[in-house]
Protein backbone atom coordinates (compact mmCIF):
# COMPACT_ATOMS: atom_id res chain seq x y z
CA UNK A 1 0.00 0.00 0.00
CA UNK A 2 1.24 3.50 -0.64
CA UNK A 3 0.17 7.05 -0.02
CA UNK A 4 1.32 10.36 -1.39
CA UNK A 5 2.52 13.05 0.96
CA UNK A 6 4.74 16.00 0.12
CA UNK A 7 4.34 14.93 -3.53
CA UNK A 8 6.02 11.63 -2.80
CA UNK A 9 4.73 8.07 -2.70
CA UNK A 10 5.59 6.31 0.53
CA UNK A 11 5.27 2.54 0.64
CA UNK A 12 4.57 0.56 3.79
CA UNK A 13 8.17 -0.66 4.11
CA UNK A 14 9.55 2.87 4.09
CA UNK A 15 6.76 4.00 6.38
CA UNK A 16 7.70 1.33 8.93
CA UNK A 17 11.38 2.28 8.80
CA UNK A 18 10.56 5.93 9.30
CA UNK A 19 8.18 5.11 12.13
CA UNK A 20 10.91 3.09 13.81
CA UNK A 21 13.22 6.10 13.52
CA UNK A 22 10.57 8.23 15.23
CA UNK A 23 9.63 10.44 12.26
CA UNK A 24 6.65 12.50 13.26
CA UNK A 25 5.30 12.94 9.76
CA UNK A 26 5.48 9.17 9.17
CA UNK A 27 3.21 8.69 12.16
CA UNK A 28 0.85 11.33 10.81
CA UNK A 29 0.86 9.61 7.44
CA UNK A 30 0.03 6.26 9.00
CA UNK A 31 -2.85 7.78 10.96
CA UNK A 32 -4.19 9.39 7.82
CA UNK A 33 -3.84 6.19 5.81
CA UNK A 34 -5.51 3.82 8.24
CA UNK A 35 -7.83 5.91 10.42
CA UNK A 36 -11.02 5.15 8.52
CA UNK A 37 -10.29 1.45 8.17
CA UNK A 38 -9.58 1.10 11.86
CA UNK A 39 -12.66 3.05 12.82
CA UNK A 40 -14.80 0.91 10.51
CA UNK A 41 -13.55 -2.38 11.96
CA UNK A 42 -13.96 -1.13 15.52
CA UNK A 43 -17.43 0.16 14.75
CA UNK A 44 -18.42 -3.11 13.07
CA UNK A 45 -17.47 -4.99 16.22
CA UNK A 46 -18.63 -2.54 18.90
CA UNK A 47 -21.42 -0.69 17.06
CA UNK A 48 -20.48 2.32 19.17
CA UNK A 49 -19.10 5.36 17.32
CA UNK A 50 -17.68 7.03 20.41
CA UNK A 51 -15.89 3.93 21.66
CA UNK A 52 -14.65 3.22 18.15
CA UNK A 53 -12.94 6.62 18.08
CA UNK A 54 -11.25 5.83 21.41
CA UNK A 55 -10.20 2.41 20.13
CA UNK A 56 -8.79 4.00 17.00
CA UNK A 57 -6.65 6.36 19.08
CA UNK A 58 -5.48 3.53 21.33
CA UNK A 59 -4.50 1.44 18.32
CA UNK A 60 -2.34 4.21 16.87
CA UNK A 61 -0.72 4.97 20.21
CA UNK A 62 0.04 1.28 20.74
CA UNK A 63 1.64 1.16 17.29
CA UNK A 64 3.66 4.27 18.14
CA UNK A 65 4.89 2.71 21.38
CA UNK A 66 5.71 -0.71 19.99
CA UNK A 67 6.77 -0.06 16.39
CA UNK A 68 10.34 -0.81 17.47
CA UNK A 69 9.28 -4.42 18.17
CA UNK A 70 7.60 -4.83 14.76
CA UNK A 71 9.64 -7.47 12.92
CA UNK A 72 7.74 -7.34 9.65
CA UNK A 73 6.41 -10.91 9.83
CA UNK A 74 3.06 -9.53 8.68
CA UNK A 75 2.17 -6.39 6.76
CA UNK A 76 1.55 -3.15 8.60
CA UNK A 77 -2.14 -3.37 7.68
CA UNK A 78 -2.43 -6.90 9.08
CA UNK A 79 -0.73 -5.81 12.29
CA UNK A 80 -3.12 -2.87 12.62
CA UNK A 81 -6.13 -5.12 11.92
CA UNK A 82 -4.94 -7.51 14.62
CA UNK A 83 -4.53 -4.78 17.23
CA UNK A 84 -7.89 -3.27 16.31
CA UNK A 85 -9.73 -6.58 16.57
CA UNK A 86 -8.12 -7.36 19.94
CA UNK A 87 -8.89 -3.94 21.36
CA UNK A 88 -12.46 -4.00 20.08
CA UNK A 89 -13.11 -7.44 21.54
CA UNK A 90 -11.48 -6.43 24.82
CA UNK A 91 -13.81 -3.47 24.95
CA UNK A 92 -16.76 -5.74 24.48
CA UNK A 93 -15.56 -8.13 27.13
CA UNK A 94 -15.64 -5.51 29.84
CA UNK A 95 -18.69 -6.38 31.83
CA UNK A 96 -20.14 -2.94 32.33
CA UNK A 97 -19.87 -2.05 28.71
CA UNK A 98 -21.08 -5.43 27.65
CA UNK A 99 -24.16 -4.76 29.73
CA UNK A 100 -24.67 -1.47 27.95
CA UNK A 101 -23.96 -3.08 24.60
CA UNK A 102 -26.53 -5.79 25.07
CA UNK A 103 -29.22 -3.76 26.77
CA UNK A 104 -29.09 -0.30 25.31
CA UNK A 105 -32.48 0.76 24.05
CA UNK A 106 -33.24 -0.18 20.48
CA UNK A 107 -34.17 3.48 19.92
CA UNK A 108 -30.54 4.45 20.05
CA UNK A 109 -27.70 3.04 18.06
CA UNK A 110 -24.41 4.35 19.32
CA UNK A 111 -25.39 6.09 22.49
CA UNK A 112 -26.97 8.94 20.56
CA UNK A 113 -30.69 9.64 20.53
CA UNK A 114 -32.36 8.11 17.53
CA UNK A 115 -32.63 11.41 15.69
CA UNK A 116 -32.03 11.00 12.03
CA UNK A 117 -29.31 13.20 10.61
CA UNK A 118 -30.14 15.83 8.05
CA UNK A 119 -30.75 13.99 4.83
CA UNK A 120 -31.38 14.75 1.22
CA UNK A 121 -34.37 12.48 1.53
CA UNK A 122 -37.09 14.59 3.07
CA UNK A 123 -39.65 11.86 3.37
CA UNK A 124 -40.27 10.94 7.02
CA UNK A 125 -41.30 7.47 5.90
CA UNK A 126 -37.92 6.88 4.32
CA UNK A 127 -36.15 8.19 7.38
CA UNK A 128 -38.16 5.88 9.61
CA UNK A 129 -37.37 3.02 7.27
CA UNK A 130 -33.66 3.88 7.46
CA UNK A 131 -33.77 3.93 11.23
CA UNK A 132 -35.51 0.57 11.21
CA UNK A 133 -32.89 -0.85 8.88
CA UNK A 134 -30.12 0.38 11.17
CA UNK A 135 -31.78 -1.18 14.17
CA UNK A 136 -32.24 -4.45 12.31
CA UNK A 137 -28.58 -4.48 11.33
CA UNK A 138 -27.41 -3.67 14.85
CA UNK A 139 -29.70 -6.22 16.46
CA UNK A 140 -28.74 -8.95 14.00
CA UNK A 141 -25.02 -8.30 14.46
CA UNK A 142 -25.36 -8.24 18.23
CA UNK A 143 -26.89 -11.71 18.09
CA UNK A 144 -23.79 -13.15 16.42
CA UNK A 145 -21.06 -14.65 18.61
CA UNK A 146 -17.95 -12.45 18.91
CA UNK A 147 -15.72 -14.69 16.81
CA UNK A 148 -18.20 -15.10 13.98
CA UNK A 149 -19.08 -11.40 13.94
CA UNK A 150 -15.41 -10.40 13.81
CA UNK A 151 -14.76 -12.57 10.77
CA UNK A 152 -17.98 -11.36 9.12
CA UNK A 153 -17.09 -7.69 9.72
CA UNK A 154 -13.56 -8.08 8.33
CA UNK A 155 -14.97 -9.83 5.27
CA UNK A 156 -17.97 -7.63 4.54
CA UNK A 157 -16.81 -4.19 5.70
CA UNK A 158 -13.11 -4.32 4.90
CA UNK A 159 -13.40 -6.88 2.10
CA UNK A 160 -10.43 -8.85 3.40
CA UNK A 161 -9.64 -12.17 1.78
CA UNK A 162 -9.82 -15.40 3.79
CA UNK A 163 -6.01 -15.38 4.05
CA UNK A 164 -5.91 -11.80 5.28
CA UNK A 165 -8.57 -12.54 7.88
CA UNK A 166 -6.65 -15.62 9.02
CA UNK A 167 -3.48 -13.54 9.43
CA UNK A 168 -5.28 -10.70 11.20
CA UNK A 169 -6.96 -12.93 13.78
CA UNK A 170 -4.32 -15.63 13.96
CA UNK A 171 -6.54 -18.54 12.97
CA UNK A 172 -6.44 -21.15 10.22
CA UNK A 173 -7.98 -20.66 6.82
CA UNK A 174 -10.51 -23.43 7.45
CA UNK A 175 -11.56 -21.73 10.67
CA UNK A 176 -12.19 -18.50 8.77
CA UNK A 177 -14.46 -20.35 6.31
CA UNK A 178 -16.23 -22.12 9.15
CA UNK A 179 -16.83 -18.94 11.18
CA UNK A 180 -18.02 -17.04 8.14
CA UNK A 181 -20.38 -19.86 7.25
CA UNK A 182 -21.83 -19.94 10.77
CA UNK A 183 -22.19 -16.15 10.86
CA UNK A 184 -24.19 -16.19 7.62
CA UNK A 185 -26.23 -19.19 8.67
CA UNK A 186 -27.18 -17.42 11.88
CA UNK A 187 -27.94 -14.21 9.99
CA UNK A 188 -30.25 -16.09 7.64
CA UNK A 189 -32.14 -17.41 10.66
CA UNK A 190 -32.36 -13.91 12.11
CA UNK A 191 -33.41 -12.36 8.83
CA UNK A 192 -35.91 -15.11 7.99
CA UNK A 193 -38.93 -13.37 9.55
CA UNK A 194 -38.05 -10.18 7.69
CA UNK A 195 -37.81 -12.05 4.40
CA UNK A 196 -41.25 -13.56 5.02
CA UNK A 197 -42.69 -10.12 5.83
CA UNK A 198 -41.48 -8.78 2.52
CA UNK A 199 -43.22 -11.50 0.55
Amino acid sequence: MSTTIHNRIVHDQELILRLQRGDEWAFQLMVRRFRKKIFSIAFGITLDAEESQDIMQEVFLQVYRTIGDFRGDASLATWLHRITVNRSLNWKRRWARRFKWLHVSTDSTDGQPAVEPESDLPSPEIRVANAQTRRQIDNALKMLPDQARTVFVLREIEGLSYEEIADAIGIKLGTVRSRLFHARKRLKEILQPLMEEEE
Partner: protein, 166 residues
Amino acid sequence: MTHPNADACDEIRLDRYLDGDLDAGEMAQMAAHIAECRQCRRQLAALTAFSQNLRDRVHDAANSVDFVALEKQVLNKALRQYRSRGGLSRFIASLKYTIPATVTAGLLLFFAYSNYVLKPPPVPSAIINSFTGSMSSVMIFETPETRQTILWYTEETDVESEPNAV
Protein backbone atom coordinates in the same frame (compact mmCIF):
# COMPACT_ATOMS: atom_id res chain seq x y z
CA MET B 1 -15.12 -29.07 -11.55
CA THR B 2 -18.56 -30.68 -11.21
CA HIS B 3 -20.45 -31.09 -8.01
CA PRO B 4 -22.21 -34.38 -7.22
CA ASN B 5 -25.44 -32.62 -6.24
CA ALA B 6 -25.25 -29.62 -8.47
CA ASP B 7 -29.00 -29.10 -8.47
CA ALA B 8 -29.42 -29.45 -4.70
CA CYS B 9 -29.31 -26.46 -2.35
CA ASP B 10 -25.90 -26.27 -0.73
CA GLU B 11 -25.42 -23.57 1.89
CA ILE B 12 -21.65 -23.98 1.97
CA ARG B 13 -21.36 -23.53 -1.78
CA LEU B 14 -23.77 -20.60 -1.65
CA ASP B 15 -21.48 -19.04 0.96
CA ARG B 16 -18.41 -19.56 -1.17
CA TYR B 17 -20.33 -18.28 -4.21
CA LEU B 18 -20.98 -15.05 -2.28
CA ASP B 19 -17.25 -14.68 -1.62
CA GLY B 20 -16.19 -15.67 -5.12
CA ASP B 21 -14.37 -18.63 -3.60
CA LEU B 22 -15.40 -21.12 -6.32
CA ASP B 23 -13.67 -21.91 -9.56
CA ALA B 24 -15.21 -20.74 -12.82
CA GLY B 25 -17.09 -24.01 -13.42
CA GLU B 26 -18.54 -24.08 -9.94
CA MET B 27 -19.53 -20.42 -10.17
CA ALA B 28 -21.44 -21.08 -13.40
CA GLN B 29 -23.10 -24.14 -11.91
CA MET B 30 -24.10 -22.24 -8.79
CA ALA B 31 -25.42 -19.34 -10.84
CA ALA B 32 -27.57 -21.76 -12.83
CA HIS B 33 -28.86 -23.31 -9.62
CA ILE B 34 -29.70 -19.91 -8.12
CA ALA B 35 -31.60 -18.93 -11.26
CA GLU B 36 -33.78 -21.99 -10.75
CA CYS B 37 -33.99 -22.05 -6.94
CA ARG B 38 -36.21 -19.47 -5.28
CA GLN B 39 -34.99 -20.37 -1.76
CA CYS B 40 -31.32 -19.84 -2.59
CA ARG B 41 -32.17 -16.67 -4.49
CA ARG B 42 -33.97 -15.26 -1.47
CA GLN B 43 -31.11 -16.18 0.88
CA LEU B 44 -28.57 -14.67 -1.45
CA ALA B 45 -30.60 -11.49 -1.82
CA ALA B 46 -31.09 -11.20 1.94
CA LEU B 47 -27.40 -11.66 2.73
CA THR B 48 -26.30 -9.32 -0.04
CA ALA B 49 -28.75 -6.64 1.09
CA PHE B 50 -27.68 -7.09 4.70
CA SER B 51 -24.01 -6.68 3.83
CA GLN B 52 -24.74 -3.61 1.74
CA ASN B 53 -26.81 -2.08 4.54
CA LEU B 54 -24.03 -2.84 7.01
CA ARG B 55 -21.47 -1.10 4.79
CA ASP B 56 -23.81 1.89 4.45
CA ARG B 57 -24.28 1.93 8.21
CA VAL B 58 -20.52 1.96 8.84
CA HIS B 59 -20.00 4.50 6.08
CA ASP B 60 -22.58 6.85 7.66
CA ALA B 61 -20.99 6.42 11.09
CA ALA B 62 -17.53 7.17 9.68
CA ASN B 63 -18.83 10.24 7.87
CA SER B 64 -20.04 11.69 11.14
CA VAL B 65 -16.55 11.44 12.70
CA ASP B 66 -14.22 14.43 12.68
CA PHE B 67 -11.09 12.53 11.65
CA VAL B 68 -9.00 15.70 11.38
CA ALA B 69 -9.60 16.56 15.04
CA LEU B 70 -8.97 12.93 16.02
CA GLU B 71 -5.72 12.93 14.09
CA LYS B 72 -4.54 16.00 16.01
CA GLN B 73 -5.48 14.37 19.32
CA VAL B 74 -3.55 11.22 18.46
CA LEU B 75 -0.50 13.20 17.36
CA ASN B 76 -0.52 15.28 20.54
CA LYS B 77 -0.79 12.18 22.71
CA ALA B 78 2.00 10.47 20.81
CA LEU B 79 4.25 13.52 21.16
CA ARG B 80 3.55 13.64 24.90
CA GLN B 81 4.53 9.99 25.12
CA TYR B 82 7.68 10.70 23.14
CA ARG B 83 8.65 13.63 25.35
CA SER B 84 8.02 11.75 28.58
CA ARG B 85 10.02 8.83 27.24
CA GLY B 86 12.80 11.26 26.21
CA GLY B 87 12.81 12.84 29.67
CA LEU B 88 13.08 9.44 31.30
CA SER B 89 15.91 8.37 29.04
CA ARG B 90 17.77 11.62 29.70
CA PHE B 91 17.35 11.00 33.43
CA ILE B 92 18.65 7.44 33.05
CA ALA B 93 21.59 8.72 30.97
CA SER B 94 22.43 11.31 33.61
CA LEU B 95 22.58 8.53 36.21
CA LYS B 96 25.61 7.15 34.34
CA TYR B 97 27.64 10.09 35.64
CA THR B 98 25.72 10.88 38.79
CA ILE B 99 26.10 7.47 40.42
CA PRO B 100 29.95 7.27 40.21
CA ALA B 101 30.22 10.91 41.32
CA THR B 102 27.97 10.24 44.29
CA VAL B 103 29.90 7.10 45.25
CA THR B 104 33.23 8.98 45.04
CA ALA B 105 31.91 11.86 47.10
CA GLY B 106 30.54 9.38 49.63
CA LEU B 107 33.90 7.62 49.95
CA LEU B 108 35.74 10.93 50.41
CA LEU B 109 33.26 11.99 53.06
CA PHE B 110 33.61 8.63 54.79
CA PHE B 111 37.41 8.85 54.95
CA ALA B 112 37.36 12.48 55.97
CA TYR B 113 34.85 11.80 58.68
CA SER B 114 36.67 8.75 60.00
CA ASN B 115 40.09 10.46 59.88
CA TYR B 116 39.30 13.90 61.15
CA VAL B 117 36.03 13.79 62.98
CA LEU B 118 36.15 10.38 64.57
CA LYS B 119 39.91 10.54 65.31
CA PRO B 120 40.72 8.90 68.67
CA PRO B 121 42.01 11.17 71.43
CA PRO B 122 45.74 11.86 70.90
CA VAL B 123 48.31 10.16 73.01
CA PRO B 124 51.94 11.25 73.63
CA SER B 125 54.02 10.43 70.59
CA ALA B 126 57.10 9.46 72.65
CA ILE B 127 58.20 9.07 76.25
CA ILE B 128 61.72 10.24 77.01
CA ASN B 129 63.29 8.13 79.73
CA SER B 130 66.87 9.40 79.63
CA PHE B 131 68.68 12.31 78.16
CA THR B 132 72.52 12.31 77.57
CA GLY B 133 75.00 14.70 76.04
CA SER B 134 75.87 18.32 76.54
CA MET B 135 72.93 20.49 75.83
CA SER B 136 71.80 23.78 76.86
CA SER B 137 68.77 25.94 76.42
CA VAL B 138 66.38 22.99 76.51
CA MET B 139 62.76 23.93 75.88
CA ILE B 140 59.81 21.55 75.90
CA PHE B 141 56.64 22.43 74.02
CA GLU B 142 53.39 20.61 73.71
CA THR B 143 50.84 21.43 71.04
CA PRO B 144 47.46 22.22 72.55
CA GLU B 145 45.15 19.83 70.66
CA THR B 146 47.32 17.12 69.20
CA ARG B 147 49.47 17.02 72.28
CA GLN B 148 52.67 16.51 70.31
CA THR B 149 55.80 17.16 72.25
CA ILE B 150 58.56 19.30 70.77
CA LEU B 151 62.05 19.43 72.31
CA TRP B 152 64.17 22.43 71.50
CA TYR B 153 67.82 22.42 72.65
CA THR B 154 71.35 23.60 71.85
CA GLU B 155 73.99 20.88 71.40
CA GLU B 156 77.34 22.01 72.82
CA THR B 157 79.76 19.53 71.16
CA ASP B 158 79.37 20.81 67.59
CA VAL B 159 81.36 23.81 66.40
CA GLU B 160 78.34 25.18 64.59
CA SER B 161 75.50 24.87 66.90
CA GLU B 162 72.11 25.04 65.44
CA PRO B 163 68.73 24.39 66.90
CA ASN B 164 67.20 20.96 66.26
CA ALA B 165 63.67 20.02 66.63
CA VAL B 166 62.32 16.59 67.33
